[in-house]
């Protein structure tokens, strides 16, 4: 343990035994900035919770959308279903890919090789690509390139496009590409936290490297993988820009039946209700309640992820 030097007050100058006013002032200023951020967060959440709660009931959560802007009957069940399916599909694509990439980076790659640095650079860059560019990519690659080609091969002669149009599968794949770095980074962190001794013990007992990874390393890293998956879902559930052109629908009479259908989406619905409502004042209760539903979804996911991660970190601390 390092002994930390704690002065009595952050602004007490021990040389002169005087109160240092400049230090006091700047400590207060930076503290004020910190609490400003927390206050803004509280205001946003409080405003949404209070105004959204009055309309937030079972009837609203399970209602359909025959009349989208009608305060009394409008519900959000189709959006909840759409959002749920799209994030589940996304998870199926992104978790295996992300975990395997993280395994390669921590277990196989040489940290100094130029090649590893390129992979890391690509992951970092992917994390910074604007979400609307993912939308363009989804349209240009999945729909216009892969989808159109699939139609030409599988449904040659058909009139209506089956794959070459916005669809749930393309939206999910676009989101999977977007959240890949989230899963990689979270998994890598948990893989690195596993003591080297565990791997060595396994190898010493005669297991091969791949066996060690599959039976010792990855099971130990499961909490981290779970954290990554949950963070990815939380991020994806609230994104609108990548699905604008790749699958989200303004209105659909039916629930989606297959992965090639379009879908209604909770986050996109927030956008529609806030910008295209015929009467903003009147539809405000549905808008607030929809925002509350979306926030509850993403926040629950985020809080669970933060909780698992902090427990995992505490455990790793204890091990070392």
């Amino acid at each position: 343990m390092n002994a930390t030097v704690e002065s009595k007050s952050v602004s007490f100058d021990v040389r002169t035994h005087r109160f240092n006013y400049a230090s006091f002032f700047f400590t207060g200023l930076t503290g004020a900035a910190t609490y400003l951020i927390v206050a803004i967060l509280v205001i946003i959440l409080g405003n949404i919770a209070i105004k959204g709660w009055s309309h937030f009931n079972w009837h609203f959560l399970t209602g359909g959308t025959e009349k989208m802007f009608d305060v009394d009957t409008a519900g959000i069940l189709p959006m909840i279903v759409g959002t749920t399916i799209r994030v589940i599909l996304m998870t199926m694509f992104v978790v295996p890919t992300g975990v395997i990439t993280a395994v390669y980076l921590t277990e196989y790659a040489h940290n100094t090789s130029i090649f590893t640095r390129i992979i890391r650079g690509a992951v970092n860059n992917l994390a910074g690509v604007p979400s609307i560019v993912f939308g363009l990519f989804g349209l240009g690659f999945f729909i216009e390139f892969i989808g159109k080609d699939m139609d030409a091969i599988l449904h040659a002669g058909g009139t209506a496009p089956v794959w070459g149009k916005p669809a749930m599968i393309w939206a999910s794949l676009t989101l999977a590409v977007m959240t890949l770095p989230v899963v990689i980074v979270a998994t890598e962190e948990s893989l690195r936290a596993i003591p080297q001794g565990l791997r060595e013990a396994s190898l010493a007992l005669g297991a091969t490297k791949l066996e060690t990874i599959l039976k010792i390393v990855v099971p130990q890293a499961l909490p981290g993988i779970l954290t990554g998956a949950i963070l990815a879902i939380g991020r994806a559930a609230g994104e609108v820009a990548p699905i604008l052109f790749t699958g989200a629908a303004y209105y659909m009479a039916d629930m989606p039946h297959s992965v090639t259908d379009q879908f209604m989406d909770l986050a996109y619905h927030v956008f529609i209700l806030s910008t295209q409502s015929p009467n903003v004042e009147q539809t405000r209760p549905i808008l607030y309640a929809t925002v509350l539903a979306l926030l509850m979804l993403t926040f629950t996911l985020n809080i669970v992820a933060i909780f698992i991660r902090s427990r995992m970190r505490a455990k790793m601390h204890a091990l070392q």
């Binding site: 030097v5 951020i37 395997i100 990439t101 910074g128 939308g135 363009l136 609108v240 925002v291």
Partner: protein, 378 residues
């Protein structure tokens, strides 16, 4: 038995490891694919125009049945669904209307211009009925005008407001949380700011549009309720967690012994933070700002909902504004696939991708060097 070495000993394992390697390339492949496929749609624009002048290639009603259906559909700028559902008579009517419009247009001296060439996308031009050369983005009109300068300035304006608001606040908070606050406080504040990053941008946009816009207008009394200022402040809320977490990380990674030495010499905690820790972590702070810039330029939903969406050429932050991202989001769904407008939107997507790519690269490089230096590797 047992003598085989390398991949011959355990072929399944060898294949498994090669597969792991191949899948780990996906991140690189994806970055390349993004660049290639977004650029692919924009190539005709990049190499110099699509020949979209309003006068060329009129299809007369008499020739209507002779041209291929696909060409007719493109000519009328219909989506395949629309084209299929329209009767022959409706199509004929549309062709006649188009011909008349083209006749009207040919009296406009600008009709013959290919407005998708670089000259008209970047430099001001005096269009018919305008008094002086101007920068105009007006993709839906008789002569489609695609000058991207107003959009670039819009993005820059909103981003500047967002950074001016969020950078000082989040850097101050990062210094406070990493150096000045006690441990218990730190444990409470950090998750709170992490939660802020968990708010979806569409919710921030909603909050800016419904609550903040009226609130700020009540204080500052400007004319247009939605403008670059409102969008910038809301965007700042999305940028704060990015700048905060990177700056806080950089400040925390400065060895504790630096602070202890300063305190032992009699400095206050603030003096140690300001004169010792901050200079040591300065590259990291720079990286935080650069990455915050990348986030701000690329954010879509907040600016789409709160900036007012008028592509006016103006440096005034209290004017309604339209950014690159909002333009793509608002207009792409309305365009016909592979039309000039569609391609231009992909082209500004490429510009956006390059801007964020370069800023992320710069931020990462700086952060990498800082870590290496603080860990004593050079």
């Amino acid at each position: 038995m047992g003598l085989a070495r390398g991949h011959k000993a355990r072929p399944a394992e060898w294949i498994g490891e090669k597969l792991i390697f191949l899948i780990s390339l996906s991140a690189i492949v994806v970055v390349f694919l993004i660049f290639i496929f977004v650029t692919r749609e924009a190539i005709p624009i990049i190499v110099g125009g699509t020949g979209n002048s309003a006068t060329n290639a009129i299809i007369h009603v008499s020739d209507m049945d002779k041209v291929p259906a696909e060409q007719l559909r493109n000519y009328l700028q219909l989506t395949p669904d629309e084209f299929r559902t329209k009767s022959h008579d409706t199509l004929q009517l549309l062709v006649e209307l188009k011909e008349e419009a083209a006749k009207d247009a040919s009296q406009d001296k600008d009709a013959a211009i290919d407005t998708t060439s670089w000259r008209y996308m970047l430099r001001p031009y005096q269009w018919t009925d305008y008094e002086k050369p101007e920068y105009i983005w007006q993709p839906v009109s008789q002569v489609r005008k695609f000058n991207i300068i107003p959009l670039l300035i819009g993005s820059l304006k909103v981003t500047l407001v967002a950074l001016l608001f969020s950078v000082p606040v989040s850097l101050a908070a990062a210094i406070y949380v990493s150096q000045l606050a006690n441990a218990r406080m730190r444990e409470m504040i950090k998750p709170a700011i992490e939660l802020l990053s968990g708010i979806p941008s569409v919710v921030l946009g909603f909050f800016a549009l419904i609550v903040m816009a009226s609130f700020l207008q009540g204080i500052f009394h400007y004319t247009s309720r939605l403008n670059a200022f409102v969008a910038g402040i809301a965007l700042g809320l999305a940028v704060i967690p990015v700048v905060f977490s990177i700056a806080e990380d950089a400040l925390t990674s400065v060895p504790r012994s630096y602070v202890q030495a300063a305190l032992a010499l009699g400095s206050t905690k603030w003096q140690a933070a300001w004169k010792v820790v901050l200079p040591a972590a300065l590259p990291g702070v720079f990286a935080a700002v650069v990455l915050g810039f990348g986030r701000a330029v690329g954010e879509t939903m907040v600016v789409l909902m709160a900036s007012g969406n008028a592509s006016i050429m103006s440096w005034n932050i209290l004017d309604s504004t339209r950014t690159i991202t909002a333009t793509i989001a608002a207009e792409l769904a309305e365009t016909v696939t592979h039309s000039p407008h569609y391609r231009i939107l992909f082209m500004i997507g490429v510009i956006l991708f390059l801007i964020t790519f370069l800023s992320n690269l710069a931020g990462d490089l700086v952060m990498h060097r800082l870590k290496a230096r603080l860990e004593g590797r050079r």
